[in-house]
């Protein structure tokens, strides 16, 4: 079971308290009517499906109820960071560097 840090509660808590919310940083367009059919299709359905660090949304559903963003490695399931909704994408290079430092190794 994953442990997830809620950036609002500032606590690291078991996965059971959270729900997954799909890819992050996909803003709903301000004026949907202005969007072409292809643009709206992309907004609805097209996702990056990355192997590796993935920007994604989580919700502390059984806690504070807030949505927040996270960077999780889809290969190792390891969370690189979590941050509040509305904050900019963190710099991936810095995150990966920090993670490499923390990694236990032999």
């Amino acid at each position: 079971m994953l442990l997830i840090h809620c950036p609002y509660c500032d606590e690291t808590l078991p996965e059971l308290e959270f729900t997954y919310g799909g890819e992050a940083h996909i803003a709903r367009p301000e004026n949907p009517a202005d969007k072409t059919d292809d643009e709206w299709r992309d907004f609805l359905f097209i996702r990056t499906n990355v192997k590796g660090p993935h920007f994604e949304r989580w919700r502390h559903a059984h806690g504070c109820g807030r949505f927040f963003n996270a960077v999780r490695d889809t290969v190792s399931d390891r969370f690189l960071t979590t941050y509040k909704a509305g904050e900019p994408r963190p710099d991936l290079a810095v995150l990966l560097e920090d993670a490499a430092k923390k990694e236990p190794s032999k």
Binding site: N31, K35, L44
Partner: protein, 997 residues
């Protein structure tokens, strides 16, 4: 005293006899015995039959890795477990055990004919044998496979035992209480950390229990062990035995399965049988030791053939000699010590056969001193004996040539092909392994969790090496947690470190194609099968595994993986690391469903939600149905009525006079705030700005893909407050969706959302007399048609209770829904029911609610829609606010595929004979005479008998249905094809005259 018991030897209690049964015969053992050790003490090695060839088998191991000796264990009614390892199950007075996979009995088994037909059952035989003719599949092959499949017999009665579950947080978890684990726990505990030490065995000690000769720190090993365990206890270490670490999950969560009662004669009724622990540890130390490998040669599976280390364990831990006349075949030093120990205990060692030309000189000297014949540089090429080994055939190997054979008589054959570090849990973490050429095995490489591996798990042999490595790793773990600790080293005398050689199949002078040289014992996979798989094109070890089933037995490859890999690599002409290892997955050993289920069974399987009026329904004979987690009154049968009769009566009486319905499960969300109306405009398809306080409107909620997600009547109480109702099953989903948009897309809106589903009890009154009943109870509100027309909402008092009153109808009759605080729900229900007697008030359930709404063509989201239905498809285009700038789903409604011709649309269906009721879910075709497979154009979504319509009615989704009114469609059923005509969706009172009373 049984024949093979050594007086005074072992950890068993010689003065505490225990009697148990095996296949109906009673045997004597001692307290501390396993079923396997007790049977071997009685001279019994034959304990089971193999899966495919039904070959007679005895235990090859003494621990949880055992593949052969699988038995059924029985305590009483419902308390039967198949596939228990006899080497793990401890005996108690009265334990009933039985062998498996045999008919009529273990010694004479008809299925053993497979063994004679082994040429037919080679690798992949399922794929080859059952290919053709095609017509044989249903009648011949599948029944055959089903009859042969499965190991053991499933219990048929409910399990009466209880299973528990706990969480544990610990600084350090040490897995394995052998020398490495003990030393690691000691080092970590001395640094002041909370330490938990677990071991799957009945007592801690690991190898030390099998090697009493060692002197640790100057003390006899078992004395040292006792003192050490006392010291650990004093340091507060939690020691858990009979506790298997079954899986290593993310972020140092380890699952433990603790067996609490399987070893007890009379467990307390309150004690759970097993307890699942979910442990979160800051540091984990894996000290799981190593598993001995068998050697692969013809006939290496007969009862009496056993791993040398296990024979040593039977002797030293259980005080049991595995035979009177043993031969040892080994490629590793460790088996020599087993031979010496057995010789000292009185077993004749016929010979030590070592595959290595020049074994360790000290060992050879010791053998000579004991008068044991040594054959160095030999191979084993066969065995004899049906139910027990009688002899082994060995040959000298010189310069790669196998020379003439000689036969050695024996009643047991101790084999050792070296040792494999047990890295299963480490592999669960996706830690990587690295092939070590020198030891010819995989060792841990990259570690991904906060974890240390100690002792034999990383290829260190001998008690001293394990103790000192354990201490080092315990110290390292303590330091990682910020504690200071220094490594204390211990010296061990009479230790038994050793080296060995690794082999594929042993060389033979006989036809290797006929050799029955087993790699996976339980699944009967031979070396020949593995080579055949490679010849037939399998290149990946994962394919070889699946084609041959090597490593897929209940021991999950503990006995077979490395031998299988060595042989496959050899056949492929590659080095082992290039071929790779199959993936280890949890659980480490077979784990009961009960342990996983824990408390979540029976009434605790899932929550049952009940409304405040549920108890009244129960007292008044309601039949219930589950609706999401709720249980709802389905119908209220009167004496002798079946469901059909009850529902017809409820419908009739409601339309005639008055019905009452518990609608408390309706989802309710309170939307409050200065921007509430803007929020509503954005979420729902409908326009809300002009909805005046005191009025309600049917709301339709879409996803941004344009498909219907939910619906419900929504009331505006004040400018800034809405009372939303949702479908019963959709309440939580709708609130989540609203929170998502509010928090992440429109955080600027000042709106608060609150789930009020369980705050209100909701009673729906429907029928021409609804107002007549209700009006006398209402204070502070005029509910006449003029003052309180259809689709109104107001706060008032009903029967003295504060209420929110809706005038709304889901039946087409004059209707009100009274919401009162949940705690008053039953009181109001009883008041209205009593007063309603003069109107012949009829309580009705969900089935009648469904019929009444279908007669009016009101949809149920999730029944008449399926997640691909737009408002236009559902005939609810009128609910879409076309002049709004935006709402969730608006843009998608213009996507080409949502406006395309031929979409499935909701229509009514009437069967042409006027009597046939269609089946919900039945498929619809346009031409019943077309060839099969027919083109299906839709399906029936709702179907009921309707007294109001005087015939059965149905709703259906049909391609282009809105343009097909009046056309005929066909519904093919198994026994006949039903004709029906497409109609509108309203079957009753299309003018809505009955609403306007």
């Amino acid at each position: 005293m049984t024949a093979f018991r050594v007086p005074g030897r072992g950890r068993v209690l010689h003065n505490r006899p225990v009697s148990f049964t095996f296949d109906g015969d009673t045997y004597q053992g001692l307290e501390g015995d396993t079923v396997a050790s007790a049977l071997i003490a009685n001279g019994v090695h034959l304990m089971g039959r193999s899966f495919k060839y039904h070959r007679p088998r005895g235990p090859i191991a003494a621990g949880s890795e055992e593949p052969n000796a699988l038995i059924g264990t029985r305590r009483g009614k419902g308390q039967f477990e198949p596939n228990t390892r006899a080497t793990v199950q401890e005996i108690w007075n009265g334990l009933e055990t039985s062998s498996q996979n045999k008919y009529p009995n273990l010694k004479f088994d008809i299925g053993a004919i497979n063994d004679r037909l082994y040429m037919l059952f080679s690798a992949g035989f399922y794929y080859k044998t059952f290919m053709w003719p095609r017509s044989f599949w249903d009648k011949v092959y599948e029944p055959f496979i089903r009859a042969a499949a499965g190991l053991g017999v499933s219990p048929t009665e409910p399990d009466p035992d209880n299973y528990a579950s706990r969480y544990l947080h610990t600084d350090i978890l040490v897995v394995g209480a052998g020398p490495a684990g003990l030393a690691a726990a000691r080092a970590a505990a001395e640094s002041g950390l909370r330490v938990t030490l677990v071991d799957e065995n009945a007592e801690p000690g690991g190898t030390i229990l099998s090697e009493p000769q060692a002197k640790i720190d100057g003390k006899p090993a078992w004395d040292w062990l006792e003192a050490e365990l006392d010291a650990l206890t004093d340091l507060g270490v939690r020691i858990m035995t009979r506790t298997t670490a079954i899986g290593y999950y993310h972020q140092n969560m380890i699952g433990l399965c603790q067996k609490l009662t399987d070893h007890l004669e009379k467990p307390a009724a309150s004690t759970p049988r097993e307890r699942m622990w979910r442990v979160r540890a800051k540091q984990v130390i894996l000290a799981q030791g190593a598993l001995e490998k068998p050697l692969v040669f013809d006939g290496n599976d007969r009862p009496g053939v056993m791993l040398a280390g296990s024979a040593q364990t039977y002797l030293n831990r259980y005080g049991v000699r595995v035979g009177n006349n043993a031969v040892v075949v080994t490629s590793h030093d460790s088996a020599w010590y087993a031979a010496f120990d057995l010789a000292s205990a009185g077993t004749k060692i016929g010979a030590i056969v070592d595959t290595r030309p020049t074994p360790n000189a000290d060992l050879v000297k010791e053998a000579a001193a004991r008068g044991i014949t040594v054959f160095a540089g030999y191979t084993a090429t066969g065995t004899s004996g049906r139910l027990r080994i009688k002899s082994v055939r060995i040959n000298k190997v010189e310069n790669g040539t196998v020379l003439a054979a000689q036969t050695l008589a024996c009643d047991s054959l101790l084999v050792c092909g070296g040792w494999t570090p047990s890295l299963h849990l480490f592999s669960h973490t996706k830690g990587t392994l690295k092939w070590d050429d020198q030891s010819q095995t995989f060792l841990p490489d990259r570690i991904t969790e906060d974890c240390q591996i100690a002792g034999a798990g990383r290829g260190l042999w001998g008690i001293e090496a394990a103790l000192n490595d354990g201490a080092a790793m315990g110290t390292a773990a303590a330091k990682a947690l910020g504690k200071t600790a220094t490594v204390k080293t211990l010296s061990v005398a009479d230790d038994r470190p050793g080296t060995g050689a690794s082999h594929t199949e042993l060389p033979t002078d006989l036809d290797a194609g006929k050799a029955r040289a087993f790699v996976d014992y339980q699944n009967d996979v031979t070396a020949k099968d593995l080579r055949l798989a490679v010849r037939e094109g399998m290149r990946s070890i994962e394919h070889v595994k699946r084609y041959t089933t090597n490593g897929m037995a209940t021991d999950q490859g503990k006995m077979s993986n490395i031998n299988g890999l060595n042989i496959a690599a050899d056949a492929l002409g590659k080095k082992q690391p290039e071929v790779g290892l199959t993936t280890f997955r949890p659980p480490y050993t077979p784990t009961t469903f009960g342990a996983f289920v824990g408390y979540h069974k029976g009434d605790h399987f899932e929550v049952t939600r009940k409304t405040p009026i549920d108890s009244w329904a129960e007292e008044n004979g309601a039949v219930f149905e589950p609706v999401s987690l709720w249980r709802r009154a389905w119908y209220f049968p009167k004496d002798g009525e079946d469901m059909d009769a009850a529902v017809r009566r409820e419908c009739r009486e409601t339309r005639k006079s008055l019905g009452m319905f518990d609608a408390s499960t309706l989802g309710k969300i309170e939307v409050v705030g200065p921007d509430a109306v803007e929020f509503m405009n954005r979420m729902y398809t409908n326009p809300w700005t002009k909805l005046a306080p005191g009025r309600t409107r049917y709301g339709l909620l879409l996803g941004d893909d344009g498909y219907i997600r939910d619906d419900g009547v929504i009331g505006r109480l004040t400018d800034d407050r809405f009372h939303i109702t949702t479908t019963t099953g959709g309440a939580a989903r709708v609130l989540n969706m609203m929170e998502d948009y509010l928090q992440t897309e429109w955080p600027d809106l000042k709106v608060w959302l609150t789930s009020t589903t369980e705050q209100w009890a909701t009673i729906a009154l429907n029928g021409p007399n609804a107002r007549n009943l209700l009006a006398p109870f209402v204070e502070g509100l005029d509910i006449s048609d003029e003052a309180f027309p259809h689709m109104s909402i107001a706060e008032c008092t009903v029967a003295g209770f504060p209420a929110r009153l809706f005038r709304v109808s889901f039946t087409g009759e004059l209707g009100f829904e009274v919401n009162v605080p949940a705690r008053h729900g039953r009181a109001l229900w009883e008041t209205l029911f009593a007063a309603g007697q003069k109107y012949d008030i009829c309580p009705y359930g969900t089935e009648t609610m469904h019929v009444l709404r279908a007669e009016k063509g009101f949809i149920i989201v999730g029944q008449d829609t399926d997640g691909t239905v737009t408002p236009y498809d559902a005939g609810a285009g009128w609910a879409v606010g076309k002049n709004k700038p935006d709402f969730v789903g608006m843009r998608a409604l213009n996507r080409p595929d949502l406006t395309a011709e031929g979409r499935k649309q909701l229509v009514g269906l009437l069967t042409d004979d006027g009597t046939s009721k269609l089946e919900e879910g039945a498929q619809i075709v346009l031409d019943p005479n077309q060839p099969i497979p027919m083109k299906m154009v839709g399906h029936v979504t709702s179907s009921y008998h309707s007294d109001a319509a005087g015939r059965p009615i149905a709703l259906a989704l049909i391609e282009g249905g809105h343009g097909k009114t009046g056309e005929t469609v066909y519904i093919p059923m198994p026994d006949r094809t039903i004709r029906a005509t497409i109609t509108g969706t309203v079957f009753y009172d299309p003018e809505n005259a009955r609403l306007k009373l």
